[in-house]
């Protein structure tokens, strides 16, 4: 384990019943590193990042996050989850709470912050993601892009050291994709450690330190973006990139 690596995954294996989703995955992420994970659907990329905060339970191998070994101890899991933020494809804001309350809920109840401090942080991030004027609205009153930005802000309010993004723009109308990507770019520029599962290759080019290509539960290729897009080594990667280029 290198000194800077804050996520170390060794020999990770996961099965859904008989289906072998992740096969001997190794991954090292250093502090401040931005990694984009891509690959065809069913390749296990979402499952991989969902294992990192234990939304999915792995059966074999080890995951070490910020020096904590992930096991079944709920205290350990919660400790890791407090440091690892996650954004979902379908936003998953809490529909019964206003945007501001969505943001302050975890800081108040999990971090045991005072309401005043929590709101101070919430307003800071609401301004950052540019939805301060919607603070008192409810999730259903916001557009998809606004909801996803609120969801990012909600994660940031816990002041995580790592952010996981699980296809954050896949459920958005095309004209809203950029407003979310812009927030993610600025987050990357500030040095946040990020693992992003996405098909937005423009984003990968702009911010990724490394691009990982997954297929059939394995990491097939890991490259710096330049090489990944110009000169990929693996057959499957080339084929996949061709398909994406064909679309765009």
């Amino acid at each position: 384990m290198s000194e800077n690596s804050i996520i170390t995954i060794n020999g990770l294996n996961k099965w859904y019943g008989d289906f072998h989703v992740l096969k001997d995955v190794d991954l090292r992420v250093e502090a401040g590193e931005k990694i984009v994970v891509c690959g065809p659907s069913g390749s296990g990329k979402s499952t991989l990042i969902r294992c990192i905060n234990h939304l999915e339970k792995h059966q074999k191998g080890s995951i070490n996050v910020l020096g904590n070994e992930l096991n079944d101890d709920i205290k350990n899991i919660s400790a890791i989850r407090e440091e690892v933020g996650m954004c979902f494809q379908s936003f998953n804001l809490f529909p019964h709470l206003s945007i501001l309350d969505n943001l302050t809920l975890a800081p108040i109840w999990v971090r045991k912050m005072s309401k005043k401090d929590a709101e101070k942080i919430a307003w800071k991030y609401l301004k950052r993601v540019n939805i301060a004027e919607h603070a008192h609205k409810f999730p259903a009153q916001l557009s998809g892009g606004q909801q996803q930005r609120a969801a990012i802000a909600r994660s940031l309010c816990m002041q995580p050291k790592i952010m996981l993004f699980d296809e954050p723009t896949s459920a958005l109308d095309p004209e809203m994709v950029n407003e979310v990507l812009d927030v993610m770019v600025s987050l990357a520029e500030e040095g946040m450690t990020m693992i992003v599962v996405t098909h937005e290759m423009g984003f990968a080019r702009r911010v990724a330190d490394h691009v990982i290509f997954m297929d059939e539960g394995k990491i097939v290729e890991r490259q710096v973006p330049d090489k990944f897009f110009k000169n990929p080594e693996n057959e499957r990667t080339i084929e996949f990139l061709k398909q994406i280029h064909a679309i765009s």
Binding site: R81, E82, G85, M86, S90, H96, L105, K137, Q141, S155
Partner: protein, 352 residues
């Protein structure tokens, strides 16, 4: 003009329909006139015995005369103020719900679970402070309200726990919860009431006596919580998986996650069902008349057996029916209001 056209089109569009319409109007008018005559025009409101009754009018004098028994059962007349005080105390204990900024409203509820029986015990039974009144003398609307209130108060938390356990990943907890729910849903409430009034005392060790009312409340709670658990489980199933995942990824563990994120959404979905089930629970309390308790319905018979007021069952039953209807209709209105309130989003924009 259009109204006449519409009536013509809807009710008089063929000879047969015209005849049916006229027939229904005729019958409704006939019954209506008869009822108004009986209930109001020919009704007797004042009097000391059944002698004042007229042949084709209601004798509301019976209700007016016996109203104390309908409301408070056979509670001693000079002690009735205690019931009033108990009602006021219970109503006052609800005030904290409406105070904003209380973080743990669940503790208020837990407080009520201890406080309400204590208030009822001290104020109604005497609790060693006041003159003792046997629970056999409790009755009328007071008894109906005590049974409904305590039954619902305890079956709620138990129902929530059962519903959550039924979805637990631990087989033992899930199994126990399923067994409990299926057992109590599978036997009639009457059986439970008989068991609690006749069989349970038989098995209690000598010298231990649990009051009948306590046994009945426990029995009803068992029964009602099983039904509530199923309603709440229905709501739990409607919550998308993403809500749990979002909560977990923010570091919430099971308890806070349920309390802050899942259950509030469940109550929002199930509020009208919970209202409906509460109404049927309140009506179910009338079954206690079978084990010899005189609730609002059960007290009609003994009152109409008063030699001064023989044959007054119809008036008594109608009066009891009206009171039940008022209670149930208010609950239905309250849940409708609550549902509206929960489902309306606030005006958009900053409300600061």
């Amino acid at each position: 003009m259009t109204l006449i056209k519409k009536i013509k089109k809807d009710y008089f569009n063929s000879p047969l329909n015209s005849i049916l319409t006229l027939l229904v109007i005729f019958l409704l008018t006939k019954v209506g006139i008869w009822f108004v005559n009986w209930a109001f025009i020919n009704a007797v409101w004042v009097g000391d015995s059944a002698a004042v009754a007229t042949k084709n009018g209601a004798t509301w004098a019976f209700i007016v005369n016996k109203i104390r028994f309908f409301m408070f059962g056979f509670f001693p007349k000079d002690q009735i103020w205690r019931i009033i005080v108990a009602i006021v105390l219970i109503a006052m204990s609800m005030i904290p719900y409406f105070i904003k900024g209380i973080k743990y409203k669940i503790f208020i509820f837990a407080g009520h679970m201890l406080l309400w029986p204590l208030i009822i015990f001290i104020m109604l039974s005497g609790g060693g402070i006041f003159e003792k009144v046997s629970t056999n003398d409790w009755g009328g609307l007071t008894l109906t309200i005590i049974l409904s209130l305590l039954g619902l108060l305890y079956s709620f938390p138990i129902g929530v726990v059962l519903a959550l356990s039924r979805r637990s990943e631990l087989p033992v907890i899930r199994g126990l919860s399923i067994a409990y729910i299926e057992f109590f849903r599978g036997i009639p409430l009457i059986t439970i009431l008989f068991m609690s009034s006749v069989v349970v005392p038989f098995f209690l060790p000598e010298g231990v006596a649990i009051d009948k009312i306590v046994r009945v409340v426990i029995g009803m709670t068992f029964f009602q919580s099983a039904y509530l658990a199923e309603v709440i489980r229905g709501g739990l199933q409607a919550i998308p998986k993403g809500q749990y995942e979002a909560a977990e990824s923010l570091g919430f563990r099971f308890g806070l996650q349920s309390y802050l994120i899942i259950l509030p959404q469940v109550f929002k979905i199930t509020v009208s069902n919970i209202g409906g089930i509460s109404i049927s629970f309140i009506k179910d309390t009338t079954l206690v008349l079978i084990i010899g308790m005189f609730d609002l319905l059960g007290i009609v018979n003994p009152l109409a057996s008063d030699s001064n007021w023989l044959g007054m069952e119809p008036e008594g039953l109608i009066f009891a029916g009206i009171v039940y209807w008022l209670i149930c209709y208010s609950i239905s209105r309250i849940t409708d209001k609550a549902e509206d309130k929960l489902n309306t989003l606030p005006e958009s924009g900053d409300k600061k």
